[in-house]
């Protein structure tokens, strides 16, 4: 309000200034006219009419400055003329009627011109006002037309009561109301706003003198349907009141399509980003535009390194490769391309990729799948197939597969070669086609079909196959039914081993075995005969060698008894020697027989207590020679797996020896004990008797070998030989240790049950 008052004051001042200016200008104009008249009077002389110059001056002032200044100028000019000009001409106003008339005329004319000038100005002003009114009306009409015809929804609302003053057709169609329904209602009554907060904000902006621009909000139609409006609003004066002029644009569809485009774009981008296939887009300028994660992995370098860079700059040397040629073809010819490519990375490593290229607006898209693994397995499969094929071809046995009609669907080299064919030639043939013997072929086919139909594998079949040359092979065949993986038909797979040679060898072996058995029988018989002979020999020895000795001895005694007195000199002594010699001979024979008996006959082994045996023998010895005081110790609990009778011979011999050879020892001692070493057990008979020289240890066990003189220790030297033979028959060994005067120790072991015995010493 204050500023309005200020404007008014300024307007009044300006008007006042203009008024003062106008009057000053009139005064100046009159002054100037007086000066000019004076100058003209000097030139023209006193005849110059007094008002001649003031008429145009007053008229000009009246026309230009209005009625007031015109009248003022008239008055000033009249005064000047009356008081300055007339006197200079010697006339007084009252005196000269003419001058008075001129003055009156001039005055009248001055007033008249001022009035006319005023009227003229008023008329001009009116004309201008009319013109402007006309203009305004035209403008209003135009605006109204625009308002109503605009496709933008418009609404004019009073600021004071928020009621709607005017709306256009577009608005009504947007909101679905009729004009009458809207006019005079507030937007709240009509529930136009989905968010009242938006409305309040907009009004607040307008009240603050701001314009509302691109204000997006949700609106409701009459039927409650929501739509998105983009709003512009201004404050205007409408019919003399402050109103808001709001314009609505329906952007629902636009938003929706924008959203759809955006969503679709996101969807595609998301799809591309997350695709298992690598995807990269290379622009027409060969620069990377897009790389997805999979492609990043395939490239083995971060996408940020590549994006925006030129393809060939990123992969130096790529232009010489085939893959580049294909990519370039796609780029140039705009035709889709595809290839499997082994890509060599800058670090020298390689990877196989399945590449597909096609054009996109930006350039080309390359889809890549890492098929390295597949290639590796393909290669591995190929290698193993090759290996398998080589193995199968190398196998000297027949490997084949046949279908139900006995046609070969697979054969190895050996199988085909047996019929003089290559595997390729044999495929598709059945047995009738190449087995010369029709009966044989039919039998094969019958059997094969049976195996397939019954689904029963067979092994251990012996088949005879006669070839064209008439040679018969004997085949050991295994056949199994199976479902052919390719055709899903039942078929049969077989492996046949040519056992012809084997069969012949078997027969030979059988023949050899039979021969061998005969020989064994012969040998056994020979052995039996030899044994019998030995027995007969021993028998003969026991009978026939003894008798002469008995005769020698007997007749010597008879001679002494009957002719004792007739014998003189050394005769008696000689007879005694004959007797002694024959007795000794008898003992030797006895020894030989005992020895021979030991190697004959069966061993009757049992677990037998050696401790008890040794004690009994020692007790018997002590009883036989009660005079001997010998300290003897026997370890208790010793048993052996042996023939008790023969073990009796062993221990008797050893203990008797100890008994005998300690006869000259001061404190004789005999020990029977066991030595255990590494889980094996040896039995020992040790004494502190005469002992022996270890140098002769080997001779100890020879029959009739003695290390002591007969007169020192009697004996025939057959005991240890016998002992050794018995121990040997028990699968054991006997060892002797000793030193002259230091005693002797004999240790022996025997085999355990289950260990085969030596049959002969």
């Amino acid at each position: 309000m204050e500023s309005g008052a200020h404007d008014d004051l300024k307007g009044q001042k300006a008007r006042l200034l203009r008024l003062v200016g106008a009057y000053c200008a009139a005064t100046a104009a009159v002054g100037a006219a007086f000066v000019i008249r004076h100058l003209l009077a000097l030139v023209v002389g006193p005849g110059l009419p007094p008002f001649i110059i003031f008429y145009p001056t007053v008229m000009t002032v009246a026309l230009l400055a209005g009625m007031g200044p015109g009248l003022a100028a008239t008055a000033m000019a009249a005064l000047l003329t009356v008081f300055l000009i007339f006197p200079s001409q010697g006339q007084s106003a009252a005196a000269s009627a003419a001058a008075a008339l001129a003055l009156a005329l001039f005055f009248t004319m001055g007033v008249f011109m001022s009035v006319v000038a005023h009227l003229y100005r008023r008329a001009r002003q009116n004309a201008a006002a009319y013109q402007s009114q006309l203009q305004q009306r035209e403008n209003e009409t135009r605006l109204s037309t625009v308002f109503h015809a605009s496709p933008v929804g418009m609404c004019i609302t009073s600021m004071s009561d928020q009621r709607c003053r005017d709306v256009n057709a577009a608005f009504l169609s947007m909101f679905g109301y009729t004009r009458d329904e809207v006019l005079g209602k507030t937007s709240l009554q009509l529930n136009l706003w989905a968010a009242e907060k938006d409305r309040d904000n907009a009004i607040r902006m307008l009240q603050a003198g701001e314009s509302v621009r691109h204000f997006e909000t949700q609106c409701h139609t009459k039927s409650g349907e929501a739509w998105t409006a983009l709003i512009w609003a201004e404050m205007i004066e409408f019919s003399g009141e402050q109103c808001t002029w709001a314009m609505f644009q329906d952007v629902t569809e636009r938003n929706r399509s924008e959203r759809m485009i955006r969503e679709s774009e996101e969807r595609f981008r998301g799809t591309l980003d997350n695709m298992l296939e690598g995807c990269q887009i290379i622009g027409a300028d060969w620069r990377y535009v897009y790389i997805n994660d999979a492609a990043e992995e395939h490239n083995r370098r971060p996408k940020r390194e590549l994006l925006g860079k030129r393809y060939m700059d990123m992969w130096p040397g790529i232009e010489a490769t085939e893959v580049f040629a294909v990519i370039k073809r796609c780029m140039d010819e705009r035709e889709p391309q595809s290839m499997e490519n082994e890509f060599t990375f800058p670090d020298g490593t390689k990877g196989w990729f399945d590449l597909r290229m096609s054009r996109v607006p930006e350039g080309i898209v390359i889809l890549s799948v890492d098929i390295s693994e597949r290639k590796r397995s393909e290669r591995a499969l190929r290698d193993s197939q090759l290996l398998l094929q080589q193995v199968i071809d190398l196998v000297p046995h027949f490997i084949f597969a046949k279908d139900r009609d006995s046609r070969h669907i697979f054969v190895n080299k050996a199988c085909a070669a047996a019929s003089g064919m290559t595997p390729e030639q044999m495929i598709g043939l059945n047995d009738l086609d190449f087995v010369p013997d029709r009966a044989q072929a039919e039998s094969f086919m019958r059997n094969d079909r049976q195996i397939i139909d019954r689904s029963e594998p067979t092994s251990d079949i012996e088949e005879r196959l006669t070839d064209r040359m008439g040679n018969t092979r004997i085949l050991h065949t295994i056949k199994i039914p199976f479902t052919h993986p390719g055709t899903a038909e039942r078929a049969l797979m077989g492996v046949a081993v040519d056992i012809t040679e084997l069969k012949h060898a078997e027969e030979e072996i059988r023949a050899l075995n039979a021969g061998l058995e005969n020989r064994v029988e012969e040998r056994t018989a020979e052995l039996k005969a030899a044994n019998k002979e030995l027995e007969a020999f021993a028998y003969a020895v026991s009978h026939d060698l003894r008798a002469p000795l008995r005769a020698l001895s007997g007749f010597s005694q008879a001679l002494r008894e009957d002719f004792g007195t007739a014998l003189t000199g050394e005769a008696g002594t000689y007879l005694d020697q004959i007797t002694l010699a024959s007795r000794r001979m008898g003992e030797l024979i006895e020894g030989i027989l005992r020895l021979s008996r030991i190697v004959r006959g069966e061993l009757q082994r049992e677990h037998f207590s050696l401790s008890s045996l040794a004690e009994r023998i020692l007790r018997d010895l002590a009883k036989a020679e009660p005079g001997r005081r010998i300290v003897w110790t026997v370890e208790q609990g010793l048993t052996a797996w042996c023939d008790p009778k023969l073990m009796d011979v062993v221990l008797s011999n050893l203990l008797e020896n100890s008994w005998k050879y300690t006869s000259r020892t001061a404190e004789p001692a005999i020990r029977f004990y066991a030595e255990r070493n590494n889980g094996s057990e040896s039995f020992c008979v040790a004494d502190n008797g005469a002992g022996f020289d270890m140098d002769h240890a080997a001779r100890l066990f020879q029959p009739f070998q003695r290390l002591h003189r007969e007169d020192e220790f009697p004996g025939i030297g057959i005991g240890l030989a016998t002992v050794q033979r018995i121990i040997n028959r028990h699968g054991g060994t006997i060892r002797a240790a000793g030193a002259p005067g230091k005693g002797a120790a004999f240790s022996f072991n025997v085999s355990h049950p289950g260990v085969s015995e030596k049959e002969l010493p």
Binding site: S542, D544, R546, A547, R550, S553, G554, A558, M585, L593
Partner: protein
């Protein structure tokens, strides 16, 4: 006095002499008959062949039988004697050089009353044979005609 006859079956003449000498020393037998092979022994026992109708008692008191004999072996002779009911109780002593276990076994299996080995040593031989004579002629009671033996002992 009844006759106590000893039948000695011995093919070795030296053994025969020594045996007879030992037996005579004890002087118990009335008669010692000697045959030199198995056949003769059987003929003697069964009064057959050259001994058909021989003198003397039906059977000897004891037969000293060597095993190793010509023609028929001692063990076979023994078997035949045991097989015949007339002679199956005849005391038979196997007197032999052999000390083979199989001989001993077969001897006893064939029914020998005793098995005596002839020692090589002369003293032992004479001793053994003497004792044998005493035992079988004086100590032992025969299965038949015992009354005689009894009175004599």
């Amino acid at each position: 006095m009844t006759t106590r006859t000893i039948l000695l079956v011995e093919d070795n003449s030296q053994d025969e002499i020594l045996t007879l000498r030992a037996l005579k020393k004890v002087n118990l037998a009335n008669q010692i008959d000697v045959v030199r092979d198995g056949q003769q022994a059987l003929d003697y026992i069964f009064r057959e062949g050259e001994f058909a109708g021989r003198d003397g008692p039906e059977l000897p008191t004891v037969m000293l039988l060597d095993i190793n004999l010509p023609r028929i072996s001692g063990l076979d002779v023994l078997a035949r004697v045991r097989a015949d009911p007339r002679t199956h109780l005849l005391p038979v002593v196997l007197l032999t050089s052999s000390d083979e276990e199989q001989d001993r076994l077969r001897g006893y299996q064939n029914g020998a009353n005793s098995f005596v080995r002839k020692p090589v040593d002369s003293a032992a031989f004479f001793e053994t044979v003497s004792r044998l004579g005493i035992y079988w002629l004086a100590v032992n009671r025969p299965p038949q005609g015992g009354t005689d033996g009894g009175t004599d002992a």
